[in-house]
């Protein structure tokens, strides 16, 4: 068994898959392993899929350990640790002859070759089932040549506040696992080049990145109603509300949340709402309010598969149309869709400035996949970031809706200056008072829509990856970024490139030029109808040649994309 290819060739990356039931601590294990691998000098990436339940079922995590960054889900399982029989079944379809399965043979009762680590027995001896995870950490540490001293220290700091006994038991569990692995794997090891600079890296998931971006954008108000997968952002801000002067309120419903946020902006706050499809559906009237009163607003919309409740803990890119067209009436908006954890931070930060500058709603469109995945990355750079506020001190006679050439009226807030701030969801005059003057109506519509011209000047251009002289142009947006990039590398074709959009709306004016150069245009979207391809057709008139879609609630895998792209190019 130790002749498994995994142990005999130096590897650029190894994929570890852990699977167990909800509540069994797979997420703790994931957290722990990625940190330890990172300390040891590896690049790490982790993504998970889980059920909408608190206990039972089968949840899994994939960790990729690598010499250089790899940041996309793959089908391949180099190492598979199923914590129970159901777990084994859950991912059986991905087991190949080269998969190293590690587990408790006695429990798993299976025909597969298992590297037997008696997780249950060891854990029981130490103090109970919960220690199984740490035994697994120990076993993997051995395989990945993690310095035992490093683990001990990490365990110490991690469990410190739980008291000495807990620390000791956990150390014991890790050591036992390490020791068992030495017996089972003998001198078999995994060879991935370590690097030194990753040690200075931070590890973030999408939710943390969005939340940090919000803080960096000057967010001082978040009102939200819990909803997977958006809750992480809300929780993160709640955890740091005192330090960063953030008012955090759990609203009674999403309608309240968005109306609070608009109220907060009106009075000078910088507010965020964070929600998912169903919750956002309830916010659409409030979005229209922001459109009418020209309120800045930042909406974090974390997508999950719909319609309705759908698959609450899964991923999809199915709400682009919703973000594009939500709200009755006509008003400008911006939609940003981070492709990476870095994007999630920088774009969210930027969203606050854009919202304030143009006095419009700005969307951060993420999804469960991005929100729940993490990897190591260099520290975020704050130097170039500034919080741009566009609030003026008002004078007597201030007019909130002064008709200006570019459509933007200087924005005052109550109590700052002598002016009065009057906003109205009805059509209004320059002062903000309700009007039925229909000529003024036209001027106000024009004024609001005129801002689009200004906004169009600042659109983030789509980015081209791969050859300049392409025949085949892949088009992707949002969280599929790393996956398409990796597939592209794998395909290694000199006729194929990726045009990646992290700003979806307005569509950048250079888009048509890119499309016209292509012989074949292939959209890759994590939805069932190719929503972005329709937007592009609507904007450029160009029809796509192929749609590569996935809507089973999971992100694309690299293998999947390689195969599907290969089939059409």
């Amino acid at each position: 068994m130790n002749d498994n290819i995994l142990f005999h060739t130096p590897r650029k990356d190894v994929s570890i898959v852990l699977c167990g039931e909800a509540g069994q601590g797979i997420q703790t294990l994931e957290f722990f392993l990625t940190r330890i691998f990172n300390i040891s000098g590896y690049h790490v990436y982790a993504t998970k899929e889980y059920m909408s339940r608190i206990r039972g079922g089968s949840n899994s995590t994939q960790i990729r350990v690598s010499s250089d960054h790899v940041r996309a889900p793959i089908m391949r399982m180099d190492i598979f640790i199923p914590f129970n029989i159901e777990a084994l079944k859950h991912l059986e379809k991905n087991i190949t002859t080269s998969t190293v399965i590690i587990g408790d043979k006695e429990n798993l009762k299976t025909e597969y070759n298992i590297f037997d680590i008696p997780l249950t027995r060891i854990a029981a001896e130490i103090g109970g089932k919960i220690y199984e995870n740490m035994v697994a950490v120990g076993a993997l540490s051995k395989l990945f040549k993690v310095n035992p001293q490093d683990i001990r220290e990490y365990v110490k700091t991690h469990f410190n506040r739980k008291g000495e006994e807990i620390v000791e038991r956990n150390i014991k569990a890790v050591e036992e696992g390490y020791y068992e692995a030495e017996k089972v794997f003998k001198d078999a090891e995994i060879n991935i080049m370590k690097s030194t600079d990753v040690k200075n890296h931070i590890i973030l998931n999408g939710a943390e990145a969005v939340a940090l971006g919000a803080i960096a954008g000057g967010c001082n108000f978040i009102s939200a109603y819990p909803m997977s997968p958006s809750t992480g952002v809300f929780v993160f801000l709640a955890q740091h509300s005192s330090t960063f002067n953030i008012i955090v309120e759990q609203a009674e419903d999403e309608i309240s949340a968005i109306n609070m946020a608009v109220g907060a902006w009106y009075a000078g706050g910088r507010a965020l709402v964070s929600t998912s499809g169903g919750g956002f559906s309830l916010m659409t009237e409030g979005l229209s309010l922001a459109g009418m009163i020209e309120s800045p607003l930042v909406v974090h919309l974390a997508q999950r598969p719909g319609p309705a409740t759908g698959l609450p803990t899964r991923t999809e890119q199915g709400d682009l149309n919703l973000a594009l067209y939500a709200g009755h009436g006509e008003f400008p908006r911006i939609i940003l869709a981070p492709g990476s954890i870095e994007d999630a931070f920088y774009l969210t930060q930027k969203a606050f400035n854009l919202a304030d500058k143009f006095q419009i709603p700005v969307f951060i469109l993420t999804d469960q996949y991005l929100i729940d995945s993490y990897y190591n990355l260099p520290e975020l750079k704050l130097n170039d970031l500034s919080i741009e506020t566009h609030v003026i001190k008002t004078g007597k006679g201030y007019k909130r809706y002064l008709i200006t050439e570019n459509g933007v009226s200087p924005r005052g807030i109550p109590g700052y200056g002598e002016g009065l701030i009057v906003v109205d969801s009805d059509e209004h005059d320059e002062e903000g008072h309700i009007t039925e003057n229909l000529n003024l109506r036209i001027r106000m519509v024009d004024k609001r829509l005129r801002k689009m011209k200004l906004i169009e000047k600042e659109v983030l251009p789509p980015e081209l990856y791969g050859v300049e002289e392409y025949r085949n142009l892949l088009i992707g947006w949002g969280s599929t970024y790393h996956c398409i990039i990796e597939a592209l590398k794998y395909l290694n074709r000199n006729d194929t490139a990726l045009l990646f959009f992290k700003q979806l709306y307005p569509v950048h004016s250079a888009t048509l030029t890119y499309l016209e150069k292509a012989n074949k245009i292939i959209f890759i979207e994590n939805n069932a109808t190719g929503q972005f391809s329709k937007l592009i057709k609507q904007t450029t008139g160009v029809e796509c040649d192929n749609l590569i879609l996935n809507y089973n609630g999971l992100p694309f895998t690299v293998e999947d994309l390689v195969e599907k792209i290969g089939r059409v190019i």
Partner: protein
């Protein structure tokens, strides 16, 4: 007479002649003047409806938002800048129908907001359908055989939620109503004032006369700190009591409870991001 800084010149008021809203507007302006509240430091938040047009007829800061959604906006305004005086004003349909959920949960939060409801027991602006407070048998173009759903009783519900200030007033009584509104404006925490308001166009039942005949004032013997007594008064329907029903002086306000205001009363909008703290937080994600 002193000119009132809240007066607006040359405005076309969209209410029917004789409407109870005029009296409420006048009372409110006078109360604000007497309390020496500055127009720049006041925000009136409203929804949509006839009552909700009120803030357009005062010279002050106005947030005229969506139908039913005044309270969440008002709560946030007060939260980000507690130095502002915040009034949330709208009709019965707006606050108790469309906005019913916010009504309840705002009471739970207890922000310092004066919530004035023009209760005409009808949907005025949409031409006379029943509102949640319409009385049984009230006939309308939609409720053709008369209302049959039990009327919404804002007072008993507020008391059930242990609201910190609960009152009912009548637009026809200048002096009494002004006093109630002034007390509410001085109150720390959420204050509900349900104001009976005759709609001369769509409610031919609950007229000035009807309200006069079917109301009476709570007298000094009423103990505003006794919740059960207040409840008893609130469910009276033979005649409807007016006045302050209930005060809970022990509730902390929403603003006081918020994390950023625990040790620092500066409005959050006046604070700056401390970048070093953010850098520290980011650094803490190194193997944290």
């Amino acid at each position: 007479m002193a000119t009132n800084p809240f007066d607006m010149q040359n405005i076309d008021i969209a209410w029917c002649p004789g409407c109870g809203n005029y009296s409420i507007l006048k009372i409110l302006k006078d109360a604000l003047l007497e309390l020496e509240i500055k127009p720049e430091k006041l925000v009136i938040v409203s929804g949509i409806g006839q009552a909700a047009k009120t803030p357009h007829y005062l010279k002050t800061n106005v947030f005229n938002g969506l139908h039913g959604r005044a309270l969440p906006a008002a709560t946030a305004i007060k939260a980000v800048n507690p130095t502002l005086t915040v009034i949330a004003e709208s009709g019965d349909g707006d606050m108790y129908g469309e906005g019913g959920n916010h009504f309840i949960h705002t009471i739970r939060r207890n922000p310092t907001i004066t919530n004035i409801i023009h209760n005409n027991m009808v949907y005025g602006l949409t031409k006379g359908q029943a509102s949640p407070t319409s009385l049984i048998n009230f006939k309308t173009p939609v409720q053709v055989e008369g209302v049959f759903n039990a009327p919404f009783n804002p007072l008993s519900i507020a008391i059930a939620l242990d609201a910190s200030f609960v009152a009912r007033a009548f637009a026809g009584d200048y002096k009494e109503t002004k006093e109630i509104i002034k007390k509410a404006l001085k109150h720390k925490g959420y204050a509900l004032i349900d104001v009976f308001q005759p709609c001369v166009t769509y409610n031919k039942i609950n007229t000035y006369k009807w309200f006069k005949e079917n109301t009476y004032y709570l007298d000094d013997s009423h103990n505003v700190y006794d919740r059960v007594e207040a409840f008893k008064k609130a469910v009276e329907t033979e005649k409807y009591p007016l006045g302050i029903f209930y005060i809970n002086p022990n509730k902390r306000t929403f603003e006081e409870n918020l994390a950023p205001y625990k040790n620092n009363r500066t409005p959050v909008i006046e604070r700056k991001l401390d970048k070093t703290k953010l850098i520290d937080l980011i650094k803490s994600k190194k193997n944290s």
